[in-house]
Symmetry: C2
Subunit: 254 residues, 2 copies
Amino acid sequence: MKFLQKLEEASKKNKSLLCVGLDPDLSKIPRNFRDKLDPIFEFNKNIINQTKDYVCAYKPNAAFYEALGNPGTESLKRTIEYVKVFGIPVILDAKRGDIGNSSAAYAKAAFDVLRADAITVSPYMGKDSVQPFLDYRDKGVFVLCLTSNEGSRDFQAFMYMKVAEAVSKWNNNGNCGLVVGATRPEQLKEISAVSGDMPILIPGVGAQQGDLEAVVKNGGPRPIINSSRGIIYDKDPHRAAKELRDRINELLSS
Amino acid sequence: MKFLQKLEEASKKNKSLLCVGLDPDLSKIPRNFRDKLDPIFEFNKNIINQTKDYVCAYKPNAAFYEALGNPGTESLKRTIEYVKVFGIPVILDAKRGDIGNSSAAYAKAAFDVLRADAITVSPYMGKDSVQPFLDYRDKGVFVLCLTSNEGSRDFQAFMYMKVAEAVSKWNNNGNCGLVVGATRPEQLKEISAVSGDMPILIPGVGAQQGDLEAVVKNGGPRPIINSSRGIIYDKDPHRAAKELRDRINELLSS
């Protein structure tokens, strides 16, 4: 099934635009998981069990798994397999990008080895560095446009509209998306004005109703609103995910 | 030992500015290696044995190893360990970059888990995305500036001088470098005019003496000239590495 279709089915079934970021940090996960054979997977499995009825996607960030060496990558693989059971798409947040044959190898790692449904990539090296990912027509490719961190002012500030416009043109297989941080609502509006019906993955939603409102209003026709630490380290991830999903839906219909 | 010191010692000992890219592709490596238990490592080990007296560094590209899953990462780890025996630094070509805590996890993966001496990173997300790598003072951090592929015209063309100037300012720990493709000799000259004594990693050297001459002339005081496929898939990697090293040295002294 194509990524976009899978995303829309999960979104419809769970009435949700919420994506939960699976960024497990061994030092932050509750003690009872740390004694298990595969603590990272067990922690994720619990989060997934508690939130699977309130999300449209999950987004594991590859960095947290790679930092643990091969056991970490194994936990990531098991996590992706586990999510698949529920028909929810997995966006691998990997921010990859290299010249053609190297990007092709990264695409293989993400889509064939780890079996993710979508990936985040960096645009810095240009179209031919992104093409090997786009060639997987059933997979989603979210290109970094304007991120939520302070450093986005260094170079992205001058480039994000160029990137948004370029990616719209690269979208021949209908599998492109953009990444735009929630901390830039005005620019999000500008970007969604040129990004057509491409999904926009929006990380960086804080606890503030204000930010969220602007994101929902400016995120285009297919916003995917990501929260990571705010949900996975909450005492009650089930309630935290349900509440955030409901708040997004209220803002949508208001 | 600091990366730069290690690089200079290897460079001096081997009278070499040549870096060999270890980008093994299972479908291209000779049949006799494919029957081994760890074909990728055995292939690399042979290349290293044949070229170790003619190089200043090795540069494995992470993509080729990740595409093989955990066994690939294991081959990469063994390759890096093997190179260490000869005191030659390893630049992990990974082109990573993410927000702060994720970049810190990538830095951990590259420097603590894989034990590379240096890494390549993408500047797109700005200074705070690179800082966690820079914080490893003994490790080298090569920031993508202007790459050798066609797609470098899409966005980098507008940014490379901004990147070169910014990285010069980020270099408080003296561990920054730049990546500039050999296919842009004029721009390489422009960049090396502002990059001070930072090493410039230069991939994309073809078989043409012309390119190489421009690279040697314009690559600043510390060029690291990379060849991957041109050496590792040569029938005689020993001769290929020696010849390229010697040609670079001739051009240097002419």
